[in-house]
Symmetry: C2
Subunit: 419 residues, 2 copies
């Protein structure tokens, strides 16, 4: 039953009306089944979790902010088990159908949220992103997606995975809406980097915006997807944007992924090891193997990985000083076919983590734009900024998308842009 296709929602009857009028009035949103919704028991994609937990006494802070600003909660969406996958294939419940490519996986772990936006049953949706769980499904399902600066949106009322990476992210059907949701969720506050919030007019594009193209990131993508994404990047270039190839690391991104995996795994076991040991939940085979590995990590493993993370953060902070972005593929390519397993699955996971771990290790905001296709399926183009630059990054993304749309229309080549 591992390849069973399902819809976006675990609960399609649970709706919550807005608490007040606001800038999101008239819009509906879906939330991943890890956000507290008053009276609903979050399932975290696992039947044993559902069975051993209670209904939430109040809404998660992010849900509360959206309801207070006029949005309507339209349902609770499927997630991978305990958010510990990037595929969206849940061994217990099935695989939400990717509306842009029904024979391919939707990506995960915020699988149902991406599908809800892609199919149009929600205008936008909340997910969580620890190692790519918003960015990957947004790329595979052809929607706009955002991972904020670490700590910039409160995670109160959200089931944790690995706190030093966990973020509350979101997807939307347009870049403008992605930005509007950001204005509500970020609440005008600075990111964890402690920098002051950019002024409202901080959205103006700087006269000289440097865009770095990491050689390692672009090497993760096969040629067809590299070319499609590079063409999209050219089509969305703003005035004064300079593209510069750059080398991120002499040792390779695989080394960065190792640090990420160890820190993530150690924190996951700290959070959920006691529950797993007590309840002995039934997990799908891939997830079970990951938890066994997480259980084996030592404090010394963690300490070494934490030192490595500090070096990487310093490197990224230096690269992203001033008006600088990184541009790269969100995922190596468009979504793979359903039911991939074994070595092939692990190889794809490793290459995907190479791309996703950069913002993760750096605590950086990243936006993914559905501007390219390979093999008839969507693949996202990403921009990463320094910490705290969430709102300017969302504003620039909206401008770049508009530029892209105008150029595509002029070229009569609008088939790429299906949003």
């Amino acid at each position: 039953m591992r390849e069973r296709a399902i819809g976006a929602y675990v609960d399609g009857r649970l709706t919550v009306e807005p608490a007040a009028k606001g800038k999101l009035s008239g819009l509906k949103f879906a939330v991943k089944d890890v956000f507290s919704v008053r009276g609903h028991t979050s399932g975290a994609g696992n039947p044993d979790w559902l069975r051993t937990h209670h209904p939430a006494p109040r809404h998660a802070e992010a849900v509360r902010r959206l309801l207070e600003n006029g949005a309507t909660l339209a349902g609770i969406t499927h997630t991978d088990e305990l958010m510990y996958s990037l595929n969206g294939e849940n061994d217990h419940y099935g695989t939400p159908v990717n509306p842009k490519a029904p024979d391919r996986i939707p990506g995960g772990s915020s699988s149902g949220s991406a599908v809800a936006v892609a199919e149009g049953s929600a205008d936008f949706a909340l997910g969580t992103d620890t190692g790519g769980s918003v960015r990957v499904p947004a790329s595979y399902c052809g929607v706009f997606g955002f991972r904020p600066t670490h700590g910039a949106v409160p995670a109160d009322g959200v089931i944790p995975l690995a706190e030093s990476f966990d973020t509350v992210g979101w997807m939307a059907r347009s870049a403008d809406l992605l930005r509007s949701v950001g204005e509500v969720l970020l609440g005008g506050k600075a990111g964890a980097g402690g920098e002051p919030a950019p002024a409202a007019d901080g959205a103006a594009v700087p006269a000289r915006l440097r865009v770095l193209l990491p050689k390692e990131s672009w090497a993760c993508a096969p040629e067809a997807s590299r070319e499609a994404l590079r063409a999209a990047l050219d089509a969305c270039r703003l005035e004064g944007m300079r593209l510069e190839p750059v080398t991120l690391t002499e040792s390779g991104l695989a080394d960065w992924v190792d640090a990420f995996r160890v820190l993530q795994g150690w924190e996951i076991w700290k959070n959920h090891g006691a529950w797993i040991s007590e309840v002995r939940p039934k997990f799908g085979p891939d997830i079970a193997a990951r938890f066994r590995w997480a259980a084996s990590l030592t404090d010394a493993d963690r300490a070494a990985a934490a030192r490595r993370r500090e070096e990487i953060r310093a490197k990224l902070d230096a690269l992203l000083a001033g008006d600088t972005l990184i541009a790269q593929p969100t995922t190596p390519s468009s979504a793979p076919l359903r039911g991939m397993a074994g070595e092939k699955l692990e190889a794809l996971r490793s290459r995907t983590l190479m791309l996703c771990c950069i913002a993760g290790l750096g605590g950086l905001p990243q936006v993914t734009l559905p501007l390219a296709e390979t093999g008839g399926a969507p693949v996202g183009l990403s921009f990463i900024a320094r910490r705290g630059m969430d709102l300017p990054l969302l504003a620039w993304a909206a401008e770049m998308t508009e530029r892209f749309r105008i150029r595509e229309e002029r070229a009569g080549d609008a088939h790429v842009f299906k949003i």
Copy 2:
């Protein structure tokens, strides 16, 4: 909130494994939220119904047959309120997104079942069809759909609407699968007409198969849809099929619809009037108005309509004697845009009922095939047979679909046929 878009499922976590292996092994099905599933409370598309009913002690007979023949239950789907609409716009929960035409309604009342099949999250789905509730959403969502001979599939464990019309119908992603499901659900038994079950080889196409084209039915469709459907009919013609225009009624189909509406309304109030009077449920405005009208019907109204039905049945029985089918549009055209209201909605409902009431009043089996498009959205072509001819009709539909596919491929015009 009346135009809120939602997914196909009210419960996307409830799954039931098959009870045995069988001809449907490996296939998954969804069921409308009016079929008993052990431990689940059917909601019938209304929150007050859900609140005032209890979990089912056992599966509906149709669900049981599918599970016994190897199929897996993949979830419970949305329905219009108390099945009393053909649109799929539920005032409480929203409108399931039609994957073939996201800005248009999915049709109802078996809205979620049609969407589940169209999006691919189910291979086939159960619905109920009293006045068109399987045929209409199948036409609008571009899937294969079947309404059996009245009484041919037991309705035990299904919330009734109007028993003298109620049928258990189904949708599928292919004509072959529609037929396989029929072989399980019909169980080799005759329809209510009491005729013996056709032999397994009863599926062979007769040397001379007459196909009647009722002038009144084809006049219900605007020119564009009439032409698209007529082209589809020509493309799926089998050897020896003779097409013959025919007049069904001197008084017009509106007169048939009147008889249908009165009989249906009288039975609905008999079934649900006591509950409505006691609970005073909140209904959407269209549904509420229909129930108020149903409450006003007298026994004399019913008796006159029942006499009219007998005349119509005799007429249809005479027309369909021998190896004869009726071919007509399933719906006047492809699905209208969401949010239609008032006069326009009522006018469409009347024209749709003109097409649907023929099989309804006659107790006849009808199959709808997604072989045409107008305005970029699907519209179904229907064939109606005499009572008890369910399995031959399903076999001929599969052959005609195959013929259609071959001709489209030869013509290089395969874009119409997206199944």
